[in-house]
Symmetry: C2
Subunit: 164 residues, 2 copies
């Protein structure tokens, strides 16, 4: 039932068509942008935004939350020269379906463990979560003053809409 | 110079070919797996592992480090039913090129700010970083006892090699 054999077979096909141009790509992202997006399975940032290998850093986590991404964004800017950030949250996000208290109670009941010290960063409004995360990054003193654009991706039609 | 017009144009093309099947995808990943990979621009986990929209959660950060991913993995397992984890670090990773002290000194010099409280999670051996991150997830009590496979992706040929 493991995905491992399928992943390895798919990778063999991918590597078989790996080009000299891909092999020669430098470490810094060619388009000097870091994309911060949700981990959601329905969202493929590369396909949805037209990214090829070498173009952009892509940071993803549950919700596409900025707090989790600060370490990565500092590395991206300070060591690898990105000078723009694009945030992509999306409709029908799992983060809209629970609260910290609900998830902590589930973990207590199902695993018998205490997760009270963990903030899972859910939200109740996807537009507001984008606004909040743009603001969090703008106000972080360890990040450069770069353009930050926030979008909501619609999982029903594949379209991004600018929020801020 | 912003990527925004290009991203929006690429997205319009993507959305124009969005299928009914994609629009109907459910929130839980169909292949019940969470992929944890580095944010590196040269690595596209979807293309390199054969992922289609709807297949897998994809969590990415600087280095593909486990510590940053625990929150997301708990959400992935507890709320969205994933039951396997695949970690992908890679050759020529930016995380191999610095230490916390070096990056903190750069931030002090370039930005005049103190980042001494931040751990950037660099590493000096990519095989060891995979081993360490598999172990960190295996030992985390808030995560389920699921199969965890660790790979190194070679940016020079597109191949993944299993580490553990």
């Amino acid at each position: 039932m493991s995905v491992v054999p399928e992943f390895e077979a798919a990778n063999a096909k991918y590597a078989a068509h790996f080009t000299k141009e891909k092999a020669a790509l430098p470490m810094p992202p060619g388009r000097k942008v870091a994309v911060l997006a949700c981990m959601d399975a329905r969202l493929d940032p590369a396909r949805a935004l037209g990214l090829e290998e070498g173009d952009a850093h892509v940071i993803r986590n549950a919700g596409g939350r900025a707090l989790d991404a600060v370490r990565s964004l500092i590395v991206s800017q300070q060591l690898l020269g990105t000078r723009e950030i694009v945030i992509v949250h999306h409709t029908d996000c799992g983060m809209l379906t629970f609260t910290d208290d609900v998830l902590r109670a589930k973990i207590r009941q199902d695993l018998g463990k205490n997760a009270d010290g963990l903030a899972f960063l859910p939200f109740s409004d996807v537009r507001q979560s984008v606004v909040d995360d743009v603001k969090l990054l703008e106000e972080n003193e360890l990040l450069l003053d770069v353009p930050i654009t926030g979008y909501i991706y619609d999982v029903k039609n594949g379209q991004i809409k600018k929020v801020s």
